[in-house]
């Protein structure tokens, strides 16, 4: 079974989707239950991965599967080539972990066309898992595009009042980026074939990473990849689809979008853009770090001024993902492991925040901050959970957010990005400002609005949804080594390879200059 664990995990949701398509439309409850059961089964299928200690000692890919998929003579060959290492492990786990929670959160929120919604959610899960485990660029691209379709319909059919605009914007932004990446993928492929990479390897990234692509080509290829991923992250200034999509999406959609889909962008940098084009990474680092810092500060400032809680959380994502990018481009172990951990953290705490927004929206059908106030008196359990999640989002010591941001800032400070780090740190303070201010206005003080006086506290279902997230907020906050130990070997290996190539490129450049000088002197 271990041989095909990843495939089983990835395609089981698809089986669930087929089952759902054959259930009667009206069987609302049944459809929801089946979907929930399927996602929980997927989680249990993936669970052995989290307990496998092989990731602590080895940086290689594990659970690999390889099969010929499409091969056409000497034109091109695509393989079904999957596997995970410490980098993708926790993102896979995050996906299988968040999905049941997201499904459970829609128990009452989705009441029209449940069948369609659940089928799309399962299709989405297959797409996301597939993208995280792909070791073949073509396969990755297929899964990457596959994710777009369900999300587009989720926003468009079940979203808020501006949903059509948001859905189309989401789709077009993301697709434009990925289309350019497609050309870059083709180019790298033919380059690799020319460079003598065995034809059977197809679009295998492990072999692409060993190529010595000339610097000027790397620049273009990296740009194409980076643009595509930057849209997904999203980085300033291509972030504008995110507030729309987040705000209009139904709760489950927002949770999946924030917790997992955004990670596709950052994961893409770590897995593809940086290892494949190390020299270009070096050239682009200051530029991307600058964008990351602008994102951190700009996202925070805009979040501060929002009057809609959901929009506030959406802009806070721009800020948080800026931190992740800064950590990734620090290119040292602290920065990268912090960045990777912060991806998980953001998935957990922002996912939780969207759930919380969903809870009060279901009760009051408004998300405007002014409509609330003093909720903590009416809903004490809710208030406690909200506060914990708020702290986690701010990055208070003891919660997961602290560990991630701390590692990122230390890593970035140690690297060549010191100046950027100084500015990025203000983001931590700003986060405290916008989150706490929002919390104060929504939860503290007197109940000013009579409609809020009789709100029900969280139901058992809602507590069950939140509990796992809270556990991980503290687990990662107090003992992050469970997670760091397994990601570090893979990250160390990657840093070593990237840095090695960068050093060689620098040496070559130095030599060129020396040669030029010598010739000039002569």
């Amino acid at each position: 079974m271990n041989d095909h664990l990843l495939s089983l995990m990835t395609f089981f949701p698809l089986v669930g989707m087929l089952i759902i398509l054959f259930l009667p439309r009206e069987a609302d409850r049944l459809i929801k239950t089946v979907t929930l059961v399927v996602t929980i089964i997927v989680f249990f299928i993936s669970l052995p991965l989290a307990f496998d200690d092989v990731f602590v000692s080895s940086s290689a890919m594990h659970y690999t599967e390889f099969a010929n998929w499409i091969s056409i003579g000497d034109y091109f060959q695509m393989n079904y080539n999957v596997g995970i290492d410490g980098i993708s492990l926790w993102l896979v786990m995050l996906t299988t972990f968040i999905m049941p929670i997201a499904i459970l959160s829609t128990w009452h929120a989705v009441d029209k066309n449940t069948k369609g919604f659940m089928a799309l959610a399962l299709l989405l899960e297959t797409g996301m898992l597939g993208a995280f485990i792909s070791l073949d660029l073509f396969l990755f691209y297929v899964f990457w595009e596959l994710m777009l379709v369900p999300m587009y319909f989720m926003i468009g059919i079940w979203g808020g009042k501006n949903r059509i605009y948001a859905a189309v914007k989401f789709f077009i932004f993301t697709a434009v980026g990925s289309l350019l990446m497609l050309v870059a993928i083709l180019y790298v492929y033919y380059y690799s074939v020319q460079a003598g990479v065995p034809f059977e390897n197809g679009f295998s990234i492990a072999h692409f990473a060993q190529l010595d692509i000339p610097a000027h080509l790397q620049t273009w290829l990296f740009a194409a990849f980076a643009f595509s991923f930057a849209i997904k992250v999203p980085m300033f200034p291509v972030h504008t689809w995110l507030p729309d999509a987040h705000t209009e999406a139904p709760t489950a959609g927002s949770v999946i979008l924030a917790a997992i889909l955004l990670k596709m962008g950052t994961y893409g940098y770590v897995r593809f853009a940086i290892p494949l084009f190390p020299v270009a990474t070096m050239q682009f680092t200051p530029f991307l770090a600058l964008l990351a810092v602008i994102g951190i500060i700009y996202g925070a400032l805009v979040a501060m001024m929002q009057d809609d809680v959901k929009k506030l959380v959406a802009y806070s994502s721009v800020s948080h993902l800026g931190f992740v990018m800064l950590g990734v481009f620090a290119m040292n172990l602290q920065g990268l492991s912090g960045g990777l951990l912060q991806m998980i953290n953001h998935g957990i705490s922002t996912g939780a925040l969207f759930l919380i927004v969903g809870f009060i929206y279901e009760r009051r059908h408004t998300r405007l901050i002014v409509d609330f106030g003093g909720l903590s008196k009416v809903m004490p359990v809710f208030a406690t959970m909200f506060l914990i999640v708020t702290f986690s989002s701010i990055g208070l010591p003891g919660t997961n957010g602290f560990v991630g941001e701390f590692l990122i800032l230390v890593g970035a400070f140690e690297s060549g990005l010191r100046v950027f780090t100084v500015f990025a740190t203000t983001g931590v303070i700003l986060a405290a400002v916008y989150m706490l201010w929002m919390f104060q206005r929504v939860m503290m003080g007197k109940v000013t609005n009579p409609k809020n006086e009789n709100l029900k506290d969280l139901s058992a279902r809602e507590v069950v949804i939140m509990m796992p997230l809270l556990i991980f907020i503290f687990w990662i906050g107090i003992y992050p080594n469970t997670f760091l130990d397994k990601m570090n070997p893979a990250l160390e290996n990657m840093i070593e390879q990237v840095k090695g190539k960068q050093q060689i490129a620098l040496m070559v450049e130095d030599m060129d200059q020396t040669v030029t000088q010598i010739t000039v002197n002569d």
Binding site: G73, F153, F171, I172, V176, L180, V183, L186, Y187, Y189
Partner: protein, 486 residues
């Protein structure tokens, strides 16, 4: 190229035209049978035509890998022709299956419709297997004349009349160009045989500077570019596609377009391989122009048939990219793309055929409001076809575009590939808009459910299977496309 030279001169060889001969016989037979049946009965014609197509398909299938040349080297029933024949047969079959209830609904249950489609298909097959300018021209005429009639098939409808007449006039004009081109090339080389022209042009390097060769090349290309609806010769497309009966539009957008590509590609490769730099440069510009014009104008369309007409212009542009690449991957990419396009585009038109009400005034974006939720099967089918037209995995459209752009990248046309994918990005907007109306808008209160005739549903299901088969496991067909090119 070697096998071209080795072709022995043979006189009559019926095996070389066997598939199209069988199909023509079925068409003729059907015409005769129609005489003895009362007017208005059409069901038999559907089944006889389908049987005819299947039998022809069997002949094509058994002939695969066993190329036959005949008629003094004017016809080659090679695997290249066979691949295109399969495309035509699918296009004709899917069209015929969706036509019956449509014709009854629109008030023209006339059984001559079916033989006309079969003749057009036979003409297309001659175009694909012609290795002599005149055979190709003959096929083109047989195909076109049947299509002129089909486009104007609804005698009582002004739109249909306009489509037929417009197609006829402009078609005749473009045929004139084509003939003029053939004449000039004949004047230069003294032959109408593709291989002989190629050998002559290759051997007489100085002649390449001859303005007559270049004029002939340009005129020939114009004739074909008109048929594939490439800009700037695309003007007829929207009107004809909109006015013609919808199944005919579906057929025209796939079969004849593929036929024109088949002949165009063969002529370019057989006759003008020595002029490659010249014509690739010319087609580069036209490919870009075609993609841009098709996609940009499609954005502002509200009539769905018209929108798909512009989209079909854009897709001709994508296929031209493969011709510009002028390498094996690009060429076989065109073959694959034409098959993929047949499934996805005819599928989309089949949905329109079913969704339309008498007179088809509801085939607009507004008329599609809430359609997807009211008619789940048609909605999902349309969604799949649209995603395939956009070129999203795992559909045939993606595999096809990937194939073609891979050819372009390999040939070094990076910018052309970039322009191509950016055009795909533009196309997202109008395809998505159909889905926005289908799913994100509410249907009218008095939405009348349309019935789903079995034959048309079969046609949609075949198209769906085709789209997913070519999208998920395209390997086998791609391999066939690879072996099919010269």
């Amino acid at each position: 190229m070697e096998n071209l030279v080795q072709i022995a001169l043979q006189n009559v060889n019926m095996a070389a035209i066997l598939p199209s001969l069988v199909l023509t016989c079925f068409g003729m037979g059907l015409l005769l049978i129609n005489v003895f049946l009362p007017r208005g009965t059409t069901r038999h014609a559907v089944w006889i035509s389908v049987i005819g197509l299947v039998v022809t398909g069997l002949f094509v299938y058994t002939g695969w890998g066993n190329p036959q040349y005949g008629f003094n080297d004017a016809v080659a029933n090679d695997s290249y022709a066979a691949f295109f024949n399969i495309i035509f047969l699918f296009a004709a079959g899917l069209t015929i299956l969706m036509s019956d209830d449509y014709l009854t609904r629109e008030g023209y249950p006339v059984s001559e419709y079916y033989p006309l489609i079969l003749f057009a298909t036979a003409g297309a097959m001659w175009m694909a297997s012609g290795t002599d300018m005149l055979t190709i021209f003959l096929g083109l005429e047989v195909m076109s004349i049947a299509l002129y009639v089909l486009a104007g098939f609804f005698r009582g409808q002004v739109r249909s009349n306009e489509a037929g007449l417009k197609y006829f006039l402009l078609g005749a004009f473009s045929t004139g160009f084509l003939l003029y081109g053939i004449a000039l090339i004949y004047g230069v080389t003294g032959s109408t045989k593709l291989t002989e022209i190629g050998i002559y042009l290759n051997a007489h390097g100085s002649l390449l500077e001859n303005p007559m060769t270049l004029a002939g090349l340009v005129l020939l290309a114009t004739g074909f570019l008109f048929k594939i609806a490439a800009a700037p010769f695309h003007m007829w497309t929207p009107d004809v596609y909109e006015g013609a009966p919808t199944p005919v539009t579906a057929f025209m957008s796939a079969g004849p377009k593929a036929a024109a590509f088949a002949a165009f590609l063969r002529i370019m490769e057989y006759c003008f391989f020595s002029l490659k730099p010249e014509w690739t440069a010319m087609l580069w510009v036209l490919a870009v122009l075609t993609m841009v014009i098709g996609n940009v104008i499609a954005i502002s369309q509200t009539n769905l048939k018209r929108m798909l007409a512009y989209s079909s212009i854009a897709h001709a542009g994508y296929a031209l990219v493969g011709l510009v690449a002028a390498n094996e991957i690009g060429y076989s990419g065109i073959l694959f793309y034409m098959l993929a396009y047949t499934f996805m585009n005819i599928g989309a038109f089949a949905v329109l055929v079913l969704a339309g009400k008498k007179g088809e005034d509801n085939l607009t974006l507004e008329g599609f409001s809430g359609f997807g939720l009211k008619q789940p099967f048609l909605g999902v089918a349309m969604t799949v076809f649209l995603f395939s037209l956009m070129g999203l995995p795992p559909t045939a459209g993606f595999a096809g575009k990937f194939y073609i752009f891979a050819g372009a990248v390999k040939a070094g046309y990076i910018w052309l590939a970039v322009i191509g994918v950016l055009n795909s990005a533009v196309s997202l907007y109008y395809y998505l808009r159909i889905m926005v109306y289908m799913y994100f808008r509410d249907a009218e209160e008095d939405y009348a459910w349309v019935s789903l005739p079995a034959a048309a549903v079969i046609s949609i299901v075949i198209a769906l299977i085709g789209v997913f088969y070519l999208g998920i496991i395209p390997g086998d067909v791609m391999e066939l496309a690879k072996t099919a090119i010269f």
